[in-house]
């Protein structure tokens, strides 16, 4: 069931390559802008590179929010699924998985490019990759939650940003903590905060979508 839904999401995503590429290009562009903004001081850039990568990833995670569930709500897809007795929790979990695959995997592939633009060391890049691998499921979960809460509202996208950014703080803090190489503590806390978001999001999103059905 859930695989049928994920496969469907990925098939639809493949029809719109721009949906895959835009967050990634945005991510790389943010990384490319920083050297212009703070100046070409390589030591300074290398020191803040990890934080920039995390903020860029967080902002990139917000981009697909407006299209994540609004289309399915408007065109009757959710109605068709619910009428078949498929739980919205299952639908939301499938969407979370397909969103992570469509957003985080391309982002991780683009990470070396963004890292080079910032002059990040291979060690730092490795830590950022590990952190993003653990943190992006949490960011995807937040995006799904915000998308479900704001689906059907006018200007929901901007509101979604206001919902996601404060809630993403734990992931950001522990993700940035991991960059300093302090090690296992930050890693475990990052994984834990991401896991909590992933565990809660399908239920919270389903409740929001259900409340929004008329």
């Amino acid at each position: 069931m859930i695989w049928t839904l994920v496969r469907r999401d990925l098939a639809l995503l493949a029809l719109r390559p721009s949906a895959l590429l835009v967050p990634v290009i945005f991510f790389v562009l943010v990384a490319a802008l920083f050297p212009f903004a703070v100046g070409p001081d390589a030591r300074l850039l290398a020191r803040i590179a990890g934080g920039i990568l995390w903020v860029a990833a967080l902002l990139a995670a917000l981009l697909p929010v407006e299209t994540l569930v609004a289309g399915d709500r408007a065109d009757g897809t959710f109605d068709q699924l619910v009428a078949r007795g498929i739980a919205l929790e299952t639908v939301a979990a499938a969407r979370l998985l397909s969103h992570w695959l469509g957003f985080a995997v391309p982002l991780l592939l683009a990470l070396p490019v963004a890292g080079v633009l910032l002059g990040a060391s291979p060690t730092l890049l490795g830590r950022a990759a590990l952190g993003l691998l653990l943190g992006t499921p949490g960011l995807a979960a937040l995006a799904l939650l915000a998308a479900s809460l704001t689906a059907g509202l006018r200007g929901g996208g901007a509101l979604a940003g206001l919902i996601v950014l404060p809630l993403a703080l734990p992931v950001l803090i522990f993700g940035a903590g991991l960059l300093t190489g302090e090690g296992a503590g930050a890693l475990k806390l990052l994984a834990a905060s991401s896991l909590v978001l992933v565990a809660v999001a399908p239920f919270a999103s389903a409740a929001a979508l259900r409340a929004g059905m008329d």
């Binding site: 069931m1 049928t4 839904l5 469907r8 098939a11 639809l12 029809l15 719109r16 408007a74 065109d75 009757g76 897809t77 109605d79 068709q80 699924l81 619910v82 009428a83 078949r84 007795g85 498929i86 059905m213 008329d214």
Partner: protein, 193 residues
């Protein structure tokens, strides 16, 4: 499904935005039966069907539905860029229906020549038929059809009437919300409002 199974609805009430829409609606529907829901705009025909489909919570009353249910809402629910047949195959997969059921449904609504077209190219009447074909292919016993005749030409309406008659003849049941006659043979009538 055998003839002695039936859907029982009792004391159903619906509120939208705090305003009562209808109250105390009840009926029985056995396999092979048909119910035609009528009423003026805003009388609650669509709301009643959404409640029966489990999409809307009733303000009061009970719905006991022993049948597997196929839903036709106001939207065609076809994703831009997908081809008609693969679009219907996705839903058939969720329904546990065979690909042959999709081909039979496409033929029943005269959509076979359009099977490989992107759904964006379909006219509104063709989209409506595609949505009806999805219900047909699902293999569901109870069809809940909200205004199935909208946008259909005379030939398609005749086809729809024939398909619904066949469905009932093989033990299916149909509930239709409609303004005019949709070609159901001797349906029970429920007038709202």
């Amino acid at each position: 499904m055998t003839g002695n199974v039936s859907m029982t609805v009792a004391g159903l009430a619906c509120e939208r935005g705090g305003r009562p829409v209808f109250a105390n609606v009840g009926f029985d529907l056995a396999a092979g039966g048909a119910l035609q829901v009528e009423g003026a705009n805003g009388a609650g025909k669509s709301s009643l069907l959404r409640i029966l489909a489990g999409l809307l919570a009733p303000a009061a009353g009970t719905v006991a539905n022993p049948f597997r249910t196929g839903w036709l809402g106001a939207e065609a629910t076809l994703k831009p860029g997908m081809r008609l047949r693969s679009e219907l195959l996705h839903w058939a997969r969720l329904d546990g229906a065979r690909p042959a059921a999709v081909d039979a449904a496409l033929a029943a609504f005269d959509l076979a020549p359009l099977a490989d077209l992107p759904v964006d190219l379909l006219s509104s009447g063709q989209r409506r038929r595609a949505a009806l074909a999805r219900v047909h292919a699902s293999g569901a016993t109870l069809w809940l059809l909200d205004e199935p005749g909208v946008g259909l030409d005379a030939a398609s309406l005749a086809r729809l009437a024939g398909v619904m008659a066949d469905h009932r003849a093989t033990g299916g049941a149909v509930i239709v919300a409609t303004h005019g006659d949709i070609g159901l043979e001797a349906p029970a009538r429920l007038v709202l409002g």
